[in-house]
């Protein structure tokens, strides 16, 4: 399975108890010029994987390469009246990085941006494997 698929599965598991929130595996997630996560609030959308293959260890016979995979996820909620369990949901999404296996480095971070009266959480997951 791809890392995106693993991530969707783990996010779904981690926020399953917060019934107001959903996870979409839809691609692409744009309607016209508007991202669907702005249109469908409290739904997590997961982007396509970006890959970066770089040299991990040069050797005389064959260089060992590593693949760095970046996946972004998006969630929008009302900025003025945020769901009471939003912190737990965000924590659950960040923790979903552990659902991706066969990697030796994994990290996740979130940034927020308030536009008009809604807040968008942009998650970035990074995975490194050989």
């Amino acid at each position: 399975m791809s890392k995106r698929t693993d991530l969707i599965s783990q996010i779904t598991t981690n926020i399953a108890s917060y019934t107001a929130f959903k996870v979409s595996s839809e691609l692409p997630f744009e309607s016209g010029e508007t991202p669907l996560y702005e249109k469908n609030m409290k739904t997590v959308y997961i982007g396509q994987e970006d890959l970066d293959v770089t040299e991990y260890a040069p050797t005389f016979s064959e260089d060992i390469m590593q693949t760095e995979t970046t996946v972004n996820a998006y969630l929008t909620t009302d900025a003025k009246n945020q769901p009471s369990d939003i912190d737990s949901v965000v924590a659950g999404i960040l923790a979903a990085r552990t659902g991706v296996t066969n990697v030796f480095e994994q990290s996740s971070q979130v940034e927020t941006e308030i536009t008009d009266d809604y807040i968008t959480y942009t998650f970035e997951f990074n995975f490194t494997n050989l």
């Binding site: 005389f60 064959e62 050989l130």
Partner: protein, 161 residues
């Protein structure tokens, strides 16, 4: 005059093999263990010295003593090479770990720029030593230093056509 460039597709190559008969360096291809994933290799020919002072000189004098010859390298651990694999020859079947543990004397050739005709190499015999495989979560491949304690001289030669 020319530099030896290992980045032009003619990389440094280390081959280990069983010593045949009385220690000559006849190589039986099936018994050769080529060390893959070498990250660096160092040939060390350290001539021993003895310094002494005399009353009639303002400076020390020196005489040479037998050299200490070593070949050392760091390599990413390959399963078959480190632990041995099916095949013929003690070096191939025992691998680096078994050869070191059994203190088996082996032959070696270090090719300076590949194995094409004309490439220079040093050969000799010695004992595998200094294995210390290590790994950590941020560097998930096992890497080990390897030292060949050379028994006697390095002998220079070139690959013949």
């Amino acid at each position: 005059m020319a530099v030896i460039n290992t980045s032009a597709g003619n990389e440094a190559v280390l081959k280990l093999y069983d010593i045949v008969g009385d220690g000559n360096t006849t190589i039986i291809d099936a018994n050769v263990l080529s060390i893959p994933f070498m990250q660096d290799v160092t040939v060390n020919n350290a001539t021993g010295t003895f310094r002494y002072k005399t009353l009639d000189s303002g400076s020390e004098s020196v005489v040479t003593t037998p050299a200490t010859n070593q070949l050392s390298l760091n390599a990413i651990v390959d399963d078959d090479v480190f632990f041995g694999a099916a095949g013929t020859g003690v070096v191939v079947t025992d691998g680096l770990f078994g050869t070191s543990g059994n203190k088996t004397e082996i032959g070696f050739r270090i090719y300076f720029d590949g194995t094409d005709s004309g490439s220079k190499y040093l050969e000799g015999t010695g004992f595998i030593s200094g294995l210390a495989p290590t790994v950590n979560p941020d560097a998930p491949l096992w890497v080990t230093p390897v030292t060949i304690e050379v028994n006697g001289d390095f002998t220079e030669a070139a690959v013949t056509p």
